[in-house]
Every structure is written in C-alpha cells, then in structure tokens.
Symmetry: C2
Subunit: 332 residues, 2 copies
C-alpha cells in the first residue's frame, strides 16, 4: 500500500524481506518480482528520476516508441501496488548494517520532514543517476528542450540525431571524445565547452581533422520553440544553428546512502555479479548505479535477477511446507 | 519490410549486419536496437514460440499484468518494422560459417517450400525453447488449459498457484524435485508421472514426508471448462480434483541449426559472456537459449546487449565520418 506520514507508523515494527531504494524501471521491476515471490518489500522513491524526464521511450519492447517514461513508471507503480507492495515517497538518507538486518533512515516530506527508520534483510540499490545539464541563468530554458531534442543518452537517441546538425555539450576534455562515437550517427557536430575546461592541442587537432567546430564561448540560451531546440545564442551575441543536441556532462550518482557500507566500486558504479549482487552478500544493485549500460531494458532485467536471487536464498533457508493432512503424523 | 516468397529475391545479394533467428521477446528487442544503431538486420520468425502461448504476461514492467504474450509480440513486430527492419516468416534450417559471413538457409512456406540463403556478418540466436506438454490422445484438451491455469513456468506463475491444489506433471524422477520449490507457493501438491518414469524409494519417501501424493496412472484427460482446469481423469476412471497445475516435463530447444558451429554448451543452453556473446566471436545468444533464467525481461535486455556489442564492433572498425565542408582538404 501507499505509505505516507499518516500511516507509516504501522510498518516501523515490520522487517521487510527487501527495501528497494528507487522506484524507477529497475526498482519497480524488482518490487513486482519480490511481491510475486511472496516476499515483503518496500519501494522508496524520491521522485523525478532519469526515466521521469524521458519524453519518448523509443527502444523498450512492448511499448509504442512514443511512450513517455512517466507512463512506464505509472503503470509499474500501479502494478506493484496491485501486488500489495509498500510504496513510500521519500529520500533514503542512511543505511546501517546491523548484521542480519539493515536499518534504513528515510526523509519523508520536504516540509516538516520526519525521519522514520525501516528495516529489511536485503537492500536493492536502484536509485540511479541524473544527468548534469548546462547551467544557464534561466534553467527553464534548458528544461524546455532537455529530454525532447536535446538528448542525454547516445545509445537511446543516436538514431534520432542521425545526419542532423548536432551540438555536443561537454564540461571536460575527455567528454569531447563522445564526438567520435556520435559521428557514427551524424558528422555534423559542433562541440560546445562553454569554457568549462581546457582543450589541449592534440584534441583540437583531432576535432579539426574531423571537421567538427569547437565553440568555447559560454551559452547565453538555447533557441527554439515548442520543445524543439533550433540552436544556441552565445554570450557574445552570436548564434549557432542546430537541429538536435547531446549533453555529455556526466551524471550525479544517487549513492550517498551506500557510502557507509563495504562495497566494491568501479568509479561511481557498483560492481555486481551476474545476479546483480554487490560485494556485500545482502546488497544488490540494479540499473544505472551498477557497472553496465544504462538502458531501461537492462534495469528491468536487473530487477528480475536481484529479486530472484533474494527469493532463492530466503526460500532455501525456509522450512519446507508440507501438506499436513496427508502426513502420517501431522506436525504443526 | 516484411519479406515473403514474393519479394525476398531482392535481399539475396544483400549482406546484413545481423540475422536474428527468432522473433520472440529477445529477437525483437535485438532487432529494434540493431535498427536504431543504423545497422541492417533480418528477423526470422517461425511462429508460435513460447511467448505466443502466454495468456497473461504478469511480470513485465510497463504492461498491465493481463497483457497476452501475443500483444507484446505484435507491438514489437510493428516497432521493428517501423524502423525499416526486415522480417521473414520462416524456419532456419542451416547456418554455414563462411569465415567473415554466415550463410543462413531458411525454409519459407509450409507448402511448396523454398529454401533461400541469406547472408550476414553476425548471427543472433534467439530461437528459444518450447515446453513439452502431457501427450494425450486429444491434444486440444491440453491446449484448452496450457498457458491458462495449467502453467509451465514456476518463476512466472508461482504467485498464481499460491495455496491452491496443484498438479505437478513430470516425465522424469529428477523433475519431481520441482515439488520442493513449488511448495514455497503451495503445499497442496499432487505429483503425476503418468508412469513415464521409475520413482525410486528415496524419492517416494521424500514425497511422503512432505505429504505430496504420487499418482503414476496415466491421465485420460484434463477436466474443466472455459480454459479453467479443475482436475484430471485417469485412465482407470478415477478423478483428482485440482485448482491449478504446473507442467515440468522439460523443453525442446530450437538449436538444431547451430550444431554445425563450434560453440560452448552447458547442457542444451549456450554459454555466453556478459554481452550475450557465445564462444564464437560473431554468434550471440539471447533469451531462453542461453544459460540463465527464462524470463521475458531478461530476453529483452539480452537483445539490447547483443545488439550493442555488435554495433560497437562494427562502429570501431568503420572509417570515421567527417564534416567534409569544414575540412581544409575535403576527402571523399
């Protein structure tokens, strides 16, 4: 059921089989599987994750390619609640490993916040990432286009950018290398650093060899209308015409609550085995937080795998259920 | 586009980037990704695979839990065709490795069959499995219930069988062990061997200890109405009342066409790496054919991974695309 400040009290004595941090594609899939394995679970969602911002989920089997990410999330949440899973809007602040149980402290409510502690045997980290966007004075101007034709994922949306005039927005020299993958889809690439990083001679030469202009002047604003970006205006008043854009400025990882646990990382990503188990035997990681490609389909499968591994372990440790009335000496 | 006897001629000179054998969940997902990576692909579907028989796809994020497998397949096929993928109804008879290229011989048409040979650089084996069902004189009687409340997948449908009187239909002694997993969901299990296998003293004792009756008399027919199975009638005229059933009689693997290639197997399943690549560098396996759990969500992610690995390899070997008009000395 949906938990809130009003009714969460009744779950504070309960030990869940698993708490799932994040109600995106990976977390909801995990929750659906956990409930179907007849385990008890709580999904904690802070809201407005990466899939929330997708305007079109163009590569997920079963949904028409113009399905917004929000529709997937709404359907998934409804599905999960129909299986009697617990769902709470909140932000996980801290996880303490008490040996057999995790104590999970959650901030609930943006105003007059409360900080209840829920308990579970297993933890599924499904809190994902969020892409950094160009920071302009008027951020609404960025949000008007981000997720529309100003993309953040090359694998998802390279196809949409095919043979179009594309701005590549970066904040580091290494991110400029994205241009040499993006050019599989389009050669009409202009790289914008906004002066946020130095660009060495070698990289300048490489860009020149490919015919990709480098613009280091900061951006004043994106131009366009009706969520269709048509170019940028620079702070020097000049403009660059574009038909699409790709932001490659890195991502924020929602992994702060995991920092107190002894986990193996690869950069900001968690290392997992083939069932999404981290180096901690009772912590699983699914979706963008773990090593691997950041795709909805992968996150959904990850949720399946993590829930299945948890179920197997709990099931194997449980007493066998017998058909009492057929036993010679029925046991209770 | 949809290929058929009438128009397939025009593709016989073409070398696809990949041929995908099987148009189920894994194959269609692979096809969608391949096309979005701007690669050329052909999906070959024989029809009536495992997902075609699913009456309710209850655990796939984004679709309401009463969605039939057929709806997923139809949506996926439409999605794939909208991306200009080639799709052919046919049965892959043979794959010959010609070094850099595979020659794939396909039987097209059940009557007046023709056997065209298509060519591709990569092969994605997505042809899956099909569950063996009890063989009764009147097979329509089996089809009336299979995929409804006579299930074939414990992970998918254990939840539907919870605390119900369940028949477990097996054809080998080892399959009887399924009872000791199924009892997580329900203890009211009757095991039916139909006399197809010997059952040793140890297994008989184990069943007795759990209170699970063992029925070795062959089944005459399933009882029920409107796709709801309510029991079985045995050949001796007696009946056993049931509320649901699970068939655990093994599966046929559609892998005959792969037998000429040098691949690593684990039983009937293909061994793959984390990107679904088999031991042959240009052969990938996705879904039920590979080692792992047989779930739609996993197959869909597998398709993503295999297509991505193929794209990376082809992209890295390709000449870089330059923005010619910005080059000092434009090259053609």
């Amino acid at each position: 059921m949906k938990l809130s400040k009003k009714n969460l009290e009744q779950r504070l004595d309960h030990v869940y089989d698993a708490i799932v941090v994040g109600g995106g594609a990976g977390g909801l899939s995990a929750g659906i599987y956990l409930q179907r394995y007849r385990l008890s679970s709580l999904v904690v969602e802070k809201g407005r994750g990466r899939s929330f911002w997708m305007q079109d989920l163009r590569n997920y089997l079963g949904l028409p390619p113009d399905t917004p990410g929000r529709t997937l999330l709404q359907q998934g949440q409804q599905h999960y609640l129909s299986l009697n899973g617990d769902y709470l809007m909140g932000f996980v602040e801290e996880v303490r490993d008490e040996g057999e149980i995790f104590a999970v402290k959650i901030k609930v409510g943006k105003q007059e916040s409360i900080y209840p502690v829920f308990r579970a045997r297993y933890l599924i980290a499904a809190s994902g990432i969020i892409d950094y966007l160009p920071q302009l004075e008027d951020m609404q101007n960025v949000y008007d286009y981000a997720g529309y034709n100003l993309h953040v994922c090359l694998i998802c949306d390279g196809y949409e950018m095919a043979d179009k005039k594309c701005g590549l927005f970066v904040n580091s020299e290494s991110a400029i290398n994205t241009a040499f993958v993006l050019n599989w889809f389009t050669p009409y690439i202009t790289v914008f650093t906004q002066g946020l990083c130095e660009v060495g001679a070698e990289m300048r030469q490489k860009l020149q060899d490919h015919g990709f202009p480098l613009v280091e002047t900061p951006i004043q604003k994106f131009l366009g209308h009706d969520h269709e970006m048509t170019g940028v205006e620079l702070t020097d008043g000049s403009t660059v015409e574009l038909e699409t854009g790709l932001v490659a400025m890195g991502s924020h990882y929602y992994n702060e609550y995991l920092k107190g646990l002894d986990l193996e990382w690869q950069g900001s990503n968690l290392v997992t085995d083939s069932m999404c188990r981290t180096s901690h035997p009772r912590v699983f990681a699914v979706g963008d937080l773990k090593v691997g490609i950041n795709q909805v389909s992968v996150a959904v499968a990850d949720g399946t795998l993590a829930a299945t591994a948890i179920w197997r372990e709990i099931r194997r440790a449980a007493s066998p259920r017998r058909w009492e009335e057929h036993l010679a000496n029925p046991k209770s």
